[in-house]
């Protein structure tokens, strides 16, 4: 049984179609990265899965429960780590965890809180108010709060958005531990590196639907080939190189001050000698598929 099954799901907000015929299946035990630019429909998909948004049409099933009718039961077995910090800042670390252990009907609240404190590595700070914690500690606590009831499925909504690199790495370690325990994870992100590091499979989402899905290396092979050549120079030179590469059927994208010729191993004389040739990446795939710059 798949942990998550979405079939032809549509969700509109007035004239805006946030989710547009979305099909998505997440098998148990994997980490699926939902990768897409802002406005791709990732957060709406997350809200549909928690029953905080109701689909206009389509079928949704989470851990065997039909949504929205059985959303509450499904939520009891999943943990949610939101994009925004919504901890109770005046309350102690352990009380923040205990409140959610109760909301999730955990039988032994004290034991669950201790385990969550270990996950967040905050045992020494358990009696401190949240507003006394550093940004990194708060994010670890937010993650631990979503795991306090040992859920079968965890939804991570942009778990490291806006964080500095050190805190991001800390969280990646925690998410890696969660993966190692076999928990099913659906992680929305618009960070390529995050998806590459953590996700077993990546689904690229654009304009409300999944436009491509696979293991990161498979996606790269399928859409970007083996190599990408970055060419630097004045605009007229870049325009000429681009035209030549495109005439050979190669995909070309902007890459900051340069142009990147994707699948450059197939080029026939279109790559200047001073081009920087590197292995193709998921970022190349993301930009080719969505037309958006990656972060």
């Amino acid at each position: 049984m798949a942990a998550i099954e979405l079939r032809d799901v549509v969700k509109t907000f007035g004239s805006i179609t946030a989710v547009d015929g979305l099909d998505l299946e997440v098998p148990e035990g994997i980490c699926l990265g939902l990768l897409g630019p802002n406005g791709a429909g990732k957060s709406t998909t997350m809200r549909l899965l928690t029953g905080q948004a109701i689909a206009d049409s389509g079928k949704l099933r989470v851990l065997g429960h039909e949504l929205p009718a059985e959303a509450k039961t499904a939520r009891g077995q999943m943990g949610v780590v939101p994009q925004l910090d919504n901890l109770d800042v005046d309350v102690t670390v352990e009380d923040n965890l205990a409140i959610f252990a109760r909301l999730y009907r955990v039988p032994d609240v004290g034991k669950a809180v201790d385990k969550a404190l270990d996950i967040a590595r905050l045992r020494e700070r358990r009696r401190d108010a949240v507003d006394e914690l550093s940004g990194g500690m708060r994010r670890r606590l937010l993650l631990a709060r979503g795991l306090v009831h040992e859920p079968r499925l965890v939804l991570l909504d942009e778990p490291t958005v806006g964080l500095d690199p050190q805190i991001r790495t800390e969280l990646w370690t925690l998410i890696g531990d969660l993966k190692a325990r076999g928990t099913t994870i659906l992680m929305s992100t618009h960070y390529i590196e995050e998806a590459e590091r953590l996700a077993d499979e990546v689904a690229v989402m654009h304009q409300g639907k999944v436009i491509s899905r696979g293991r990161p290396m498979e996606l790269i092979d399928e859409h970007a080939g083996r190599q990408t050549a970055e060419v630097y120079g004045p605009p007229d030179r870049l325009a000429k190189t681009r035209a030549e590469a495109e005439s050979q059927g190669l995909a070309v994208r902007a890459a900051g001050p340069a142009i990147a010729i994707v699948g450059s191993e197939r080029a026939d004389g279109a790559i200047p000698e001073d081009a920087v040739v590197r292995a193709a990446t998921l970022e190349d795939v993301f930009v080719l598929l969505t037309g958006e710059e990656a972060e």
Binding site: Q52, A53, G76, N86, D95, R102, L103, Y104, R105, R152
Partner: protein, 264 residues
Amino acid sequence: MNAAAETRRMRRLEPTAIAGVMSREVANFRTYWKGTTFSSVMEPLVYLLAFGLGLSATLVDEVEGVPYIEFVGTGMVATAVIFSSALPAMFGTFVKHRFQNTYDAILAAPVDVEELVTAEMLWIGLRSGTYGCVPLLVTIAFGLNPAPGMLLTPLFCFVTALGFAGFGVAMAATVAKIDQFNYVTALCVTPLFLVAGTFFPIDGLPQGVQVVAQFNPLHQLVELVRGGAFGFEWADILRFAFLVGFALVTWRVAIRQMRKRLID
């Protein structure tokens, strides 16, 4: 995850969900109870000194055969209830929803909007039911004779506060911006507070206003508290039923409005 929770289909209005949401309120209350308690004691004290002692020493000796300070003191219970229920419900709900994203966190757990609103109303009702009794205790200190009927005051305050908590939650879910509470306060809260019979008996008001005042829950609360202090009458059963009805109606309206606001 325990097996029971895995297989059991969750029902509506589960006591564990409601208790869980209330435990969050209790945890937060522990961080601010001193200030709330201080103002809850000081406000009736100041009002009693200003109106009760001030007016009874200069203009009014007795109202309806009761010393004015006792008349105002028993009426102040209603003031304490509305200010400790409607206003915290309005502002607290708005802030938790719009600024703190607290409800997003709670609704990601196995709690639904009906349980969330019920828990919020119950907590405000309990807190306000307790603080609503403070003016009565202060008035006793000023010479009001204790009476057995006063033991029902926490119940009267609790039920009335439930109603105003529901009103406040519904308003918070309806307004677009926090400054729109100024309209709610000016058009609803202040008139209800002034035409409750707290500071003067409403039977001196024009006939039309007297009829309208009968639909003011605060007026019914004032009459019930005075009934507890000076003797009940049969009509008090209807007054209490009115307050229960008020709480039930605002409960359902608050749930409907919050569902619209919280579920896309």
